[in-house]
Amino acid sequence: MTYADGILVALRHLLREHRECFCIGQGLWSPWYVGNTMRDLEKEFGTARVIDSPVSEAATTAAALGAALGGYRPIVVHPRVDFAVLALDAIVNQAANWNHMFGGGIPVPLTVRAIINRGGEQGAQHSQALHAWFAHVPGLRVVMPSTPADARDLLVASVLCDDPVVYLDDRALYDVSEADTSMAAVSLRDVLPRVRRAGHDITLVGTGHSAHLCGKAAELLARQNVSAEVIDIPVPGPVTDGAARVLCDSVRRTGRLLAVDGGWAACGFSAELVALAAETLPPTAWKSAPARLTLPPAPAPTNGRLERAYYPTAETLAERARELTR
């Protein structure tokens, strides 16, 4: 099963088993926009439940919120998270606050699925990873799977969750594949970080594509006799106490932390992870100062050479980890 298959399997399951689920967004009838993640769903479930929409991010997202209040479980799809920026009122002002500002106990089962692109010379407005924006907001749950099984199981969990969820999948992971597993029913609030690989010299942590990179870097490091522990945080918003504990336990063992993120450093998710560890662990727990590896503080360029310099790779990550363990 590939990561893209995982998403497709989840959507098919949701549409088949839950009559209150429907999808709305741009490109849903075109494999070009959403890869194979929604292939032929409109043929199987009809165009009334898989709705390819006008170019109207703000309206489709807020309309999905309205339908969620009416008892449905809509999945809004934005082929780039950059386009979801046009829907921020619906997501941030409305969906995130709805339950709290009206006194609590109000289900808001809205899922906003947005896709992150990295590379392909698509430039500043088609390549942003904005998960930290969403994770900043109380009331939103943010999901960033890094493996096919998580892509599947956490999408189902997102849609069945009664809180608004921003589910961010990453095009660069679509072809990642692993052995088939059976679907696991999970509740988003119980999802803990995954220790993808055990190690004792350094903790590498990230979410989504960055967690994937950490795994690759750990393999490179193993060949150089550096034992890296890899922690994948599939639910970056909110990071629960239980989740923070998994991270801190790991750093307590390794004494070193490299937080990797596909977004920018400033006020970003890597900053959150370092802060969580720094607040919890005593100074004596650290063998070296915690570090971050992120995008440089610049928009995505289109020039191919600058683009290659822009994105961290398993190699640059391993190099940084080696520096910390030296």
């Binding site: 430039g123 407005q125 360029p301 020039n303």
Partner: protein, 348 residues
């Protein structure tokens, strides 16, 4: 004459019509010939870029305007030095029609430091202020309110300048489009809303996205005068744009133009038949008979201003100029590594 139904394209949407030579109207032959040369240049550049994409030499997403050249050239015909024009993801033709250099465009799609955006933006982020092109971006609808604000600045300047925003039918589905029309009409801003309705937004026909196929109804809703034209009829677009520009410059407020046209290639990339994974209707062959170049050239031939030989010579000339620019562009330098972080703020 009864004013046209603002919601319905009618015969304009029928690809079997408007194949005949255009009416040259009051367009002087010399101007028509210059316009034809610009159409040919744009076509040649777009074909060249399409080949570059196919060969993998160009890797940024390119949305080609082949088939839509007359809309761009007609729009550009009324632009004066203090004006400001904005585009979108499909803006190579706007850039070239305004006088932008083919070499700078090719360098940009190749990501070179010598490109119009110094290699930082590629095909979807073009700018050439020296030729009144203030910027094109791929967030659909984004430059409609920006152009509205550039018109506000022009109004404050009081020099009779105007702003133009070029966008597609898909962009009229974004909220900011409607907000901008309302704002511009209320403040009587000198802005021309220039919609190239090519019936498609990526893979979806307008019939699957809107309850009516003409976007002029939105102008009516905001009390903005409008003209709808056959967008592949160069003299007609020029005439409509002249009326729009005169109106805006006179202080009478915004104007709306809908130019009905059709793109020959897929939404993105050079392929004709497969459009972002979905096969289009089989009417492309008909649309090719409504070729903006063919219709203008035939009219000029009929009127005795152009011979078949002169036309092929002009075509060959355009292709040769583009081929030369393309070859030269291959040797252009990449931006330096320092550009990545050195160009984030206005001064490094």
């Amino acid at each position: 004459m009864a004013s046209p139904d603002p919601a319905t394209l009618g015969a304009l949407a029928d690809p079997a019509q408007y194949h005949e030579p255009v009416d040259l109207r009051d367009l002087p032959p010399a101007k028509a010939i210059t316009a034809l040369d610009t159409l040919l240049l744009i076509r040649a550049v777009e074909v060249c870029i399409g080949e570059g994409v196919r060969a993998g030499t160009i890797r940024c997403p390119c949305h080609l305007a082949i088939g839509q050249e007359a809309a761009a050239v007609g729009m550009a015909s009324q632009i004066q030095p203090h004006d400001r024009v904005f585009g979108a993801h499909r803006s190579h033709a706007h850039f070239l029609a305004l006088g932008g250099s083919p070499r700078q465009l090719l360098d940009e799609v190749l990501g070179r430091d010598t490109g119009c955006s110094r290699g930082m933006g590629g095909s979807m982020h073009l700018r050439d202020v020296a030729h009144q092109f203030w910027g094109s971006v791929p967030i659909v609808g984004a430059t409609i309110p920006i152009a509205t604000g550039a018109a506000l600045a022009a109004q404050m300047d009081g020099r009779g300048a105007l702003a133009v925003t070029c966008f597609g039918d898909g962009a009229t589905e974004e909220g900011v489009f409607h907000e901008s029309l309302n704002l511009a009409a209320t403040l009587r801003l000198p802005v021309v809303f220039f919609c190239e309705n090519n019936l498609y937004s990526s893979h979806l026909h307008i019939g699957l996205r809107q309850p009516a196929d003409s976007t002029c109804r939105h102008a009516v809703a905001h009390c903005i005068p409008f003209l709808r034209v056959e967008g592949n009829d160069l003299p007609a677009v020029v005439a409509a744009m002249r009326q729009a520009a005169d109106h805006a410059r006179s202080g009478a407020g915004p104007f709306y133009i809908e130019a009905l046209t059709y793109r020959w290639r897929g939404h993105v990339g050079p392929s004709e038949d497969v459009d972002v994974g979905v096969k289009r209707k089989d009417d492309l062959a008909q649309w090719k008979l409504r070729d903006p170049i063919g219709r203008l050239a035939a009219a000029l031939e009929q009127a005795g201003h152009l011979s078949a030989a002169a036309l092929s010579e002009a075509q060959a000339h355009a292709r040769a100029a583009v081929a030369q620019a393309w070859d030269a562009a291959q040797a252009a330098p990449d931006p330096p590594q320092a550009a990545l972080q050195g160009r984030v703020f206005s001064a490094p």
